[in-house]
Symmetry: C2
Subunit: 126 residues, 2 copies
Amino acid sequence: MIILDYRDRRPIYEQIVERFQELMMSSVLEKDAQLPSVRSLAMDLSINPNTIQRAYAELERKGYIYSVKGKGNFVADNRSLKDSRKEAVLKKQEETAMEAMGLGVEGAMLKRVIDEIYEKGGKSDD
Amino acid sequence: MIILDYRDRRPIYEQIVERFQELMMSSVLEKDAQLPSVRSLAMDLSINPNTIQRAYAELERKGYIYSVKGKGNFVADNRSLKDSRKEAVLKKQEETAMEAMGLGVEGAMLKRVIDEIYEKGGKSDD
DNA sequence: TAACTGTATTAATTAAATTAATACAGTAGT
DNA sequence: ACTACTGTATTAATTTAATTAATACAGTTA
């Protein structure tokens, strides 16, 4: 479920946070699903439990999970988080378009990429 | 020309590298333009010259600049680098579209963002 | 009670970025 | 030749953050 990249210059706990966010935002992990326990995931990844603890604390701080002492960590209601994510994606789209324009890439080219992705995904919107 | 963000968790030298890359990819700095000297930029930013040295070494390694001992550092011929950047931007566009699709954002919405950016930029492509 | 779960805390270790202090070498102008 | 710039290289010290280690305490479940 989680794969660490030690060449990545970002800290381990951050990689873990991001990976779980992806799994939750893409609905692979759904509301109230239980995350691996701090100690078991630490064993799996061969790292210190404190590092998992830190990652989970971060996920909770951001509202992605909630924890119940003695029971475990669980995926939070993430509908509002998905909405935030949508906004962030649109901002990312703006940045991409800005840079593309600066490089002389035509807008039509970007649109073509979008069409390819959405066709593959089985969706059609226009 | 360069502004450092000390809250940014990325190292200073990396911020400097990225900022110069932006300036060169957007043609604000053109081929053979001279960069500030190692020592003067270090003074301006109130940091150690070694840090600038490292940033410039990185820029040279990546092919963005060339250095002439005794004279200074200069913007390299960056036509091929701009081509690489175009490819990277298209890849970024793919990722954005993938995530957007996963979140249920319609492709038409992404295209609308693109149109807005390109209109503002004075360009028209379709 | 045993075996899980999460949380908190403090200290030690590790790794990387940054600074500091030099030294050496090429260029340009006087 | 001298001065004042430029880049490059090197070594050590400092600083900061991530990670590990070792515990302790608390709630859950059977």
